[in-house]
């Protein structure tokens, strides 16, 4: 019996390994394709540019991954991006008027911190709605999607905050540096991705918090019974997601040196796509930060590569959809195969 199944199971194991690494395989495939098909794609300078574009979506997707692992969803991230961009723009141009003839102005660091605080606050609202008021995550964050976008529009009456190049008087000259500046030859947004990525990876793999995040998504009732503070864990993931979105908002405002209230529309969908492509299960309990980042790179390389090839944006949209569905189909295949291999091994061990 053992002799008969052994070669089969080795094949299955090899296939399983390939399926597990599918996002990585997809990454190598798209890289190889565009290096061949798109002019100047394979260059250090372009690698930096692509990473810079990917970093925005990857940051959102990291926050989204934690949320999805707990079995939730955060639809509000795109609106938080817009709101935080507007907060940064507002603080740069208007300061905060105390109403008694004084206006408080902030320097770059303070502006970044306040914008992040706003993002985290929206996350807190999401968390409270979900944990205390029992609103389903999809509905709660759909609500905050509208509220945050509306607030962004209200902040400027729908206008763009232009010319955010900073002023020496208020210590904001360094604001454009966030989007355009480089450290050791790499744009700051890439360093942000590296930092947040490592932090999130560390949390998910090495900390109790991380184990609890997986536990909540895997079996919420079971986690609760074994002493996991489920509500606290959920609060954390939505706050973290809000924080990531705030970073993205600030970076975009700085890159464009302008903030527009429609910034970040549909970003939430790209973030979900990256997480799913990276192997995060929408039903919770399963997902990896590394996978999500690779997923974001696959999507980003696809769209940048197609732009460089001059392919119509209509096709870009279709292709993105196909890739996402393919990823989930492969995911299902992996699950089935995994179950079969496990059964075979069990049978073999008997």
């Amino acid at each position: 019996m053992t002799a008969l199944t052994a070669p089969k199971s080795t094949n299955a194991n090899a296939l399983l390994l390939l399926l597990r690494l599918r996002t990585f395989v997809a990454l190598i495939l798209v890289l190889a394709f565009f290096s061949w098909a798109a002019p100047n794609f394979l260059s250090t300078a372009n690698a930096v540019i692509v990473s810079k574009h990917v970093a925005l979506n990857a940051l959102l997707a990291i926050g989204m991954t934690f949320v999805i692992i707990t079995g939730g969803i955060d639809l509000s991230v795109g609106s938080i991006v817009g709101l935080c961009a507007m907060v940064a723009g507002w603080l740069m141009l208007n300061g905060i008027n105390l109403g008694i003839g004084y206006t408080v102005w902030f320097n770059t660091v303070e502006i970044v911190l306040i914008a992040c605080a706003v993002g985290v606050s929206v996350g807190i609202v999401n968390g409270v709605l979900i944990t205390r008021l029992g609103v389903a995550p999809f509905i709660a964050t759909l609500g905050t999607l509208y509220i945050a976008r509306g607030a962004a529009l209200l902040s400027s009456g729908g206008r763009t905050f232009p010319n955010l190049s900073g002023s020496a008087e208020f210590g904001t000259l360094s604001f454009p540096f966030i989007g355009a500046g480089k450290i050791l030859g790499l744009p700051i947004i890439i360093w942000l991705l590296v930092l947040v990525g490592l932090l999130a990876h560390y949390i998910s793999r090495r900390t109790t918090l991380g184990r609890h995040i997986y536990a909540v998504g895997g079996n919420e009732r079971g986690a609760q019974l074994s002493g996991v503070k489920v509500n606290r864990i959920k609060m954390f993931v939505y706050m973290f997601s809000g924080f990531c979105a705030a970073l993205v908002g600030v970076v975009i405002a700085s890159q464009l040196q302008a903030s527009h209230p429609a910034t970040g529309e549909t970003f939430e969908l790209n973030a979900i796509a990256a997480a799913v492509l990276g192997g995060t299960s929408m039903s919770g309990g399963r997902g990896r930060i590394g996978g999500t980042i690779v997923g974001a790179f696959v999507i980003g390389i696809l769209s940048d590569g197609l732009i460089m090839m001059g392919v119509s944006s209509f096709w870009q949209t279709v292709i993105k959809g196909v890739v996402i569905i393919a990823a989930v189909v492969v995911d299902q295949a992996q699950n089935k195969l995994q179950a079969r291999v496990a059964l075979q091994q069990e049978a073999a061990n008997k």
Partner: protein, 313 residues
């Protein structure tokens, strides 16, 4: 329960009746329906129409359809119910808006269209649109001159489902393609969006480092593209936009973007209100239904006179 509901209804009826005389006190109310004012262009339309209406003694009712034809239809119902005298409309779709305008006409309310046409004639009293084709040709001619009639360039297209995106691109090419040394090396949509234009520009620049110029379907995309060029240290690249926004005006004055084309949104909306007023008083606008307004080239010479989509003298 029933009594309560009846009381509520009568309360609403009384409050509505109370609200109506305040409309009637003036010449009547004009409804101004535009896409979302998060684009300053549409805001200028609404502001221009409202200012003119106030000047002529009308009350205004400013509504936003967010480019949603269904919402637009509902807004028409509300405007008809409120008994407005006329409707100024920047519509939500050439085909999808005909029924709404017809509905208003059937209720005895004339509509005056600005910025975008509908596919039917005889339904609206006026259709005043900017001559996008003429404007694009102006922009393209300036672009060709700035480029010295030679070199590689990229084009940023607007949302491809929007007719104006196509008309502008056509206008650009009908001029530029006459110059054999002008070579388009990249053409991509950035969906009218500043953020998208930024990333698309970065990628196009990677694929084609020899780009000397960028011609853009609108000003927001021109702003995004210029930010990307600035980040790449390529401020030598000539950027030309379309719309005549204050942001691009400031950039032109600071030596960034080189030129744009003004669509006189403010003036156009005012003209529509003037024609509405003429129609209400004399039963006729006195002009043809379809009217084209010429666009104006904005560059370093006249940029300082530009303010919210209007040139001051």
């Amino acid at each position: 329960m029933n009594l309560k509901r009846r009381l509520l209804m009568s309360a609403i009826a009384i409050s509505m009746a109370g609200a109506l005389p305040s409309f009637a006190a003036a010449e009547g109310t004009i409804a101004i329906i535009t896409p979302s004012p998060d684009n300053p262009f549409f805001k200028a339309e609404a502001d221009g129409a409202a200012a003119k209406a106030a000047e002529l003694g009308y009350e205004t009712m400013i509504l936003v359809h967010d480019d949603d034809a269904n919402k637009q239809s509902e807004l028409f119902d509300s405007a008809i119910a409120a008994g407005v005298k006329a409707i100024i409309l920047d519509n939500a779709g050439a085909d999808a808006s005909v029924a709404a305008v017809q509905k208003a006409l059937d209720a005895g309310i004339p509509s005056f269209l600005i910025d975008r046409e509908i596919t039917a004639t005889g339904v609206a009293k006026s259709q005043i649109v900017s001559n996008n084709y003429q404007g694009a040709q102006l922009g393209a001619q300036e672009f060709v001159t700035l480029m010295g009639e030679t070199g590689e360039f990229a084009e940023l297209l607007g949302k491809e489902s929007d007719t104006n995106a196509g008309i502008r691109s056509q206008g650009y090419h009908d001029v530029i393609d006459q110059y054999p040394d002008m070579k388009m090396v990249a053409q991509q949509t950035a969906n009218w969006s500043q953020t998208e234009a930024y990333t698309v520009m970065e990628s196009m620049l990677q694929a084609n480092p020899g780009i000397k110029g960028v011609i853009s379907g609108n000003d927001t995309m021109a702003m995004g593209a210029y930010a990307a060029l600035e980040a790449a240290g390529r401020t030598d690249v000539i950027v030309v936009g379309f719309d005549g926004s204050n942001d691009v005006r400031d950039s032109i004055l600071a030596g960034g973007i080189k030129a744009t084309v003004l669509q006189p949104a403010y003036e156009q909306a005012q003209l529509a209100v003037t024609q509405a007023d003429a129609f209400l008083k004399n039963g006729s606008t006195g002009v043809d239904e379809k009217q084209l307004m010429d666009c104006v080239l904005i560059n370093g010479e006249n940029a300082s006179k530009l303010e919210t989509f209007a040139l001051t003298e």
